[in-house]
Each structure stands twice: as structure tokens, then as C-alpha cells.
Amino acid sequence: MNNIKSKLPTLDRFRMVNRTFPKTPEIMELKRRGKKVFGWLCTYVPEEIIHAAGILPVRVTGYSQEEELEDGNAYLYINNCSFSRSCLQMGLRGEYEHLDGLVAGSTCDGARRLFDLWVHYIKTPFYHILTVPRKYTEPAHSLYYEQITNFKKHLEEYLDFEITDTKLVQSIQVYNESRELLKRLYELRKLDRPPITGAETMEILNASFRMPKEIFNQYLHQLLMEINVSGREYPSRVRLMVTGSVMNNPEFIHSIEELGGLVVTDELCTSTRYWSDPVVLDGRSPLEAISRRYLSNFPCARMVPSDGRFERILQLAREYHVDGVISQIIRYCVPYAHDLPLITEKLEQIGVPTLALDVEYGTSGSGQIRTRVQAFVEMVETRKK
């Protein structure tokens, strides 16, 4: 069956969240009821701690399309990545004025400077930046644990109450459930004819960090049931994986899929790297378990050595039967740009070609990008035959 038109009502609910973000009706209603909302930057910030404090964590993202970034350029200069410029511009223009706090990690130059300038120019009541080691050694884990502990203390001082282990365990359960549900969703994408597209998946993931997790989990559970009975199947000429810089624009994925390449998986911090590994308590204190998960999670290109990231990309390529990789790297996103020649060679060694695209954050994939993707899809299709 090739019934690609079956509706998924819950998907529309996710789309509604994304359309109205950052000031979604749900978030603003929670604010009215006195709940605090914190923004976080980068997947090395442990959401569970914010959640356990009774605060709604939402991910700070930039404009959903490629925009003129006059303010972003003026404040961060043109050579910082358009993601950080886009986020800062939204902050400067009051689109995140409802945030009660901002939490970041020292993950890359762009994130560090975005945080610096946010602190300097935007008056959010609470700020915290975590030192995030670049290694996975035991001393690195100890340092990160110390950082997480200090963050929790800072938050407790600000809120004037303790974030108990019980609360942390509850938050871990909520977040792990979300990860498990997303894993189930991704399992469906391994099928020869997946019931969901890459663009639709990105809509779901965007909503996952823009709404209360408990509600997201309910919705996703519902969506998975809808998918099961939908009979949807998406055939494709080629199966693709998207890798590289931060990207959360479903339009970009859609533009690839329009050309006959189905995006079946990804290595993005807004997608697989966001949900991939659970927090494993395994006799550890909740804080230790959170710390270990966040530093050992599917790595960003910032981590050293890069082999960990490369291995997991190769593993994804095999598991999802990927025919080709589209590497989209935002201009001036240096960590990913440095890794590109190394990972391209490794993918080529397992017979997976890579298309390297220099993009700006929010790009829809039109114009020259579209032409290059079209040629790539045709090339990969020819290689398959």
C-alpha cells in the first residue's frame, strides 16, 4: 500500500506548537499561572535539572526561516554562525522576553559568545553557563559532574528551595520516556517504506523541546498509535541521512524529500543527538547519572577524539540502510567544518557518498542547494543500480 495521504491529527498539534513558538499559547498560559520558563542552548545542558525544579525548559532556537539578521550581524558580527546570530536577534527583539532564565554550555565559540552577549544585552533574570569538557575521560566526567552540581546549587539558591533526588528521578523518568518514544518513532524509519517522512519527524522533534515533556509524551504516544493504523508508506529513490550543524527547519528536509530522497535518519543535535541515549541510574545518584549521560551522549563535533562521533554516524548509516549523506554545515560552524574531510572519507570507505552543503541557519533548501541535492540524488540512485 502506498497511502501517503493519511492524516495524522496529532502531527498537526505539534505543528501548531512550532508555528507559535517561542510564545506558544501553552507557554504563555503556564507563565500566567506563575510557572517559570527557562531557555537552554545546546544539548549539553541537562534539562532534567531544570524540569525537576518545576521550571519549563524550552530550547532557544532561531528564526524558522532564513532571515535578514541585521541585529545579529551588528552584535555578533558576520563571522559568527547564523544560528547564534538568529537566536540573539530574536532575543534582542523581545521574542524571548518571557524567559526567566538562560542556561548554556561552553560548547563552541558561537554558543559562548551568544551567551556572553545575551547576558550583556538581554535582561533575563537567571543565567548560568556550564564548562563542558571536550573529553570522555573519568576526570572529565568528574569535572562535568561538579559543573552540574554547581548548576543545581545555583538554581536552588535562585529558587530558594531544594531540588530533591526524588524530583530528579521523576524528571529522569519523564525524559527517558520521551527518548524511548522517539526511539520507537525512529525504528519505523528503518523500514523499507517508512510511514513517516524526515520533514514530519523534524516537526515532532521541534515540538519536543518547546512544550511540557509530559504532554509531549502523551501526544507522541498518540501519534505512534495513529501511525500504526494509518497504513502510510513512503517509497523513495534513495535513503538519506542528514548530518552537520544545528538545524531544525522541516522545510529544508522537505525540499530534499521533494526531489526523491527520503531522509530516514540524521545526526543532528536537534534530532538523534537530542534523544539518543537514556539516563541510566544503575545504582548512581540521579545527578551522577544525568552528568554521565550528557557528557557521553552521541557526541557533538566539539568532542575529542572525533572517532566516537564518526563511529556512531557509520553505525546509523548501516542501521538505516543509508544510500547517501547530506552534510549541511552552517557557515562559520567550525567544529563540523573541520570534521568534514575526515568523516567524508570514512563514509566513502563504506560506500556512502556525501554531499557537502554550506548553508545558513533556517535555509529552506531552494536555489543552488536544490540543484545540488537534485544532482546528488540522481548520482546516488545511479550508484545503487
Binding site: 551588528a74 552584535y75 555578533l76 558580527y77 558576520i78 563571522n79 559568527n80 554562525c81 561552553s106 563552541c108 565559540d109 558561537g110 559562548r112 559568545r113 551567551f115 556572553d116 552577549l117 550583556h120 553557563i129 564548562t131 563542558v132 569538557p133 571536550r134 573529553k135 575521560t137 576526570p139 572529565a140 568528574s142 569535572l143 561538579e146 559543573q147 554547581n150 563535533a301 566539539r302 575529542v304 577524539p305 572525533s306 554545515i329 557557515r331 562559520y332 560552524c333 567550525v334 567544529p335 567544518a337 573541520h338 570534521d339 568534514l340 574531510p341 575526515l342 567524508t344 557537502a356 554550506d358
Partner: protein, 422 residues
């Protein structure tokens, strides 16, 4: 040792530096410290060239790397970024280096010294290192350049993870990282760390920092005694020979020369019209041009807060490894470029503008350096608050194709006219 020699490029560099030293010596108007500077460069690259012959391990390393440890272990350091820009500056090979970097797949947005480093390794125009050492101090480029260098040189490597902030836990982490690096180097070199030697180096580093600070104090004098772009020599002294007799000799000579000039009321430019604050580094390939231009305008770079203003602090030779870790928190670049941009860092820039009585500031907006350029607006506002105008010049420190000499000259001319009107 597996080191192989490529005599052509390193020999050319050595020859250039020797020639420069001879020319400096022959001209009585040139500072003796400048002669010493070229002798240092010559000596530095001679050691690199001879590492294999001398049976010493050659370690390629990124900028702001704690090479005190290498000197204590009798390992020869080779500063990769500095080698790139010196090759570009003295041998004019930037186009070839950058082309090779591009050929290796590095995007043009990656900073040119790092594309050049890949080019240098890819072309094999420098001696083959036995080990590659790199760290995240000072940016993502340094953090990410090591693995490609290892691949291109087929050498083992060690990444030194430098924490972002200065807490006790982070300091301890860095000390642990340094200890791991010592183990790595002991294993690779077959030599044990000489802790006494490291203590001596740390003690000399204290002296080095002390002289450095004296030089900074002398530069507050009006007219300023230090010539334009000479601060690049200051930086290089610590890049090449931290805590080494060579650096001490050079800095002592420079300090004494400056002291004499201050006593005599002499300035490096005469008459001195404009005292400037330099932010970041001007294009290396325009050093002579800018020197002439500044001299003709009576302009002098009096202070460079991002590069020459060390944080307060003293190292403890009894705790050499901790001291090496601490030094990385004292270097000027850390405060202003790597670590969090604190209110104190901005206040220090503002204070420097007042203490050095600057008329204006020039921010060399190096297109490859993201974390410095992100501070342009906030520094400009900070300086404007004390009525110090700032000119921003887009540039690249290695790649001359970003903008022309005339373009930069015109911008500077307009800025000087504006300062004149004030």
C-alpha cells in the same frame, strides 16, 4: 626518532631570519632587541630543523600551548600557527598553503592560519613532527585542528582539554590533563620529565612576566617608546621561548632600551600625534606597510589589551605543574578571547585606554576569528563611553585576498583625519 627533514622551507626561513638579524645589526638606528628577536627566530627554527639529527623529539603544537613542559623534557616545540604566518610573511607562500588547505576539504570559513597549518602539513614543507599536541585554548579551530594534523603527518597526538572558567575544580582538571600529557610524552620520547628543570623554567617565567609588565608600564609614557607592531615580537618571545633564557635576554634588552628612551623623552615616532589601542592583530603581510603608514601619521600602538595585558598573579616554582596550569589563566588572550566575557575584562580595556592615554582604537576584525569579532560592538560601546572612537577594519591576518593594501590604507587615512578633527 622518525623525524625527516625538509630542508627547503625551514632553511629558507632560517636564512631569512639570519639576514634580518644581520640587517638589523648593520643599522645603528635599529634596536638591538630587534636583532635579538631575529636571532631567536633563527635559533628556534634551527632547533626544529636539527631535531632529528640531535636525536630529539619534535612536537608540533597549537597556539598558547604550555611548551614549558616540552622544554623541561628536552623536546623541540614547533608552533604550528606561528610557522604558518611566518611562512606566509617571509616566504610569501600563503596562496599555496591556503590552496592546499582547500584541497584537503577545509572550508574557507575556517580561520586562515589553521587552513594554512593543514596546507603546511599537506605539502610536507616543514619537518615531520614525531607528535602532535593541541588544545582548545584558544578556540574551536585549535581544538579541531589536531586530528587532521595527526592524519597528515601519521603522528600520534595528545589533546589538552583546557577548561572554560577558573574554578578550583577546573584548575585541578587542567593539572591532571598536563600530567597525562607528561606521561604521553615520556612514553613517546623515552625521556623522563625533569621536574627540577620545570621548576627552573617556572621561576624564569615569573621573571619573564615581571619584565613583560615593566615593559607595559614603560609604554604608558608619552611619547610611547615602543615602535609600531613591535608587540608582535613581544608575543612571539613567549610563543617560542617561554621561561627560556632567550626570552629573558630579549625582554631585558627591550625593557632597557625602552627605559632609556623614556628617560630621554624619546618616542618611537616623532612627533607623536596619535596614541592608539590595537585590538587583535593586523594583517601580518602588511606589517612593513602599516609601520610606514603609522610612522608617517605620527601614530603609535600604545597598548593591545587583548594580547599584552597579563592578569595579576605569580607562579610557584615549588609547584611546577600547577604553575604551568595557572599560567594559562594569566595570559591576556584567555581573559579577553577564550573565557567568559566578564564585566571586568571590559573594565580592564576601558582602564587601559585611560592609562595609556589613547586617542582612538583600531579593531582588526580578522574574519576567521569568531570569538574576538563577537566582541567588536561591546568593546566599541565600552570605549565610546569614555570618548575613545574605534575603527573596525575587516581583514585576514594571512590571506591578502580579503582586502587590498589601498582599501586598508584609505580606511586608516579617514580614521586619522577624524582623529585630527577631534
Amino acid at each position: 626518532m622518525t623525524t625527516t627533514e625538509n630542508k627547503n622551507e625551514v632553511d629558507l626561513l632560517i636564512r631569512s631570519f639570519r639576514l634580518m638579524a644581520r640587517m638589523s645589526r648593520a643599522r645603528p638606528t635599529v634596536r638591538s632587541s630587534e636583532t635579538l628577536y631575529y636571532q631567536m627566530l633563527s635559533e628556534y627554527y634551527t632547533r626544529i630543523r636539527n631535531a632529528n639529527k640531535d636525536g630529539k623529539l619534535l612536537a608540533a603544537h597549537t597556539v598558547f600551548f604550555p611548551t614549558e613542559i616540552l622544554y623541561a623534557m628536552d623536546i623541540v616545540p614547533m608552533h604550528t600557527e606561528m610557522t604558518t604566518w611566518l611562512t606566509a610573511l617571509f616566504l610569501r607562500e600563503q596562496a599555496e598553503l591556503l590552496a592546499k588547505g582547500a584541497e584537503l576539504g577545509l572550508a574557507p570559513e575556517i580561520c586562515s592560519p589553521h587552513r594554512g597549518v593543514a596546507g603546511i602539513f599537506g605539502l610536507g614543507i616543514i619537518p615531520h613532527p614525531d607528535v602532535v599536541l593541541w588544545s582548545n585554548l584558544i578556540c574551536d579551530n585549535t581544538a579541531k585542528s589536531g586530528e587532521l594534523m595527526m592524519k597528515l603527518s601519521h603522528s600520534p597526538g595528545f589533546f589538552l582539554d583546557n577548561p572554560f572558567q577558573n574554578s578550583l575544580g577546573e584548575m585541578n582538571y587542567l593539572v591532571g590533563e598536563l600530567q597525562d600529557m607528561v606521561y604521553f610524552l615520556e612514553e613517546r620520547s623515552g625521556r623522563k620529565m625533569d621536574w627540577n628543570k620545570l621548576s627552573e623554567i617556572v621561576a624564569r617565567t615569573n621573571l619573564e612576566m615581571e619584565i613583560y609588565r615593566e615593559i607595559c608600564e614603560l609604554r604608558k609614557a608619552v611619547p610611547s617608546p615602543m615602535s609600531n607592531q613591535s608587540y608582535l615580537e613581544l608575543l612571539s618571545a613567549d610563543y617560542m621561548f617561554p621561561g627560556q633564557p632567550e626570552a629573558i635576554q630579549y625582554l631585558t634588552q627591550l625593557r632597557d632600551e625602552l627605559k632609556l628612551m623614556v628617560q630621554q623623552g624619546k618616542g618611537s615616532v616623532s612627533p607623536e600625534h596619535f596614541r592608539l589601542m590595537t585590538l587583535f592583530i593586523p594583517p601580518m603581510y602588511l606589517t612593513s606597510y602599516l609601520d610606514k603608514l603609522f610612522d608617517a601619521r605620527g601614530a603609535v600602538s600604545a597598548v593591545e589589551p587583548l594580547f599584552t595585558q597579563w592578569s595579576e598573579g605569580k607562579l610557584d616554582p615549588a609547584k611546577p605543574l600547577e604553575s604551568v596550569a595557572m599560567k594559562s589563566f594569566l595570559i591576556p588572550e584567555r581573559r579577553s578571547m577564550y573565557g567568559p566575557l566578564s564585566g571586568q575584562a571590559l573594565q580592564d580595556i576601558s582602564n587601559a585606554a585611560k592609562q595609556y592615554k589613547v586617542d582612538g582604537a583600531i579593531y582588526w576584525a580578522f574574519i576567521g576569528c569568531r570569538h574576538t569579532c563577537a566582541t567588536i560592538k561591546v568593546i566599541k560601546e565600552t570605549l565610546n563611553e569614555i570618548d575613545v572612537p574605534m575603527l573596525t577594519v575587516d581583514c585576514d591576518i594571512v590571506d591578502p585576498t580579503i582586502n587590498s593594501e589601498e582599501e586598508i590604507g584609505d580606511k586608516l587615512a579617514q580614521f586619522f583625519e577624524m582623529l585630527e578633527d577631534r
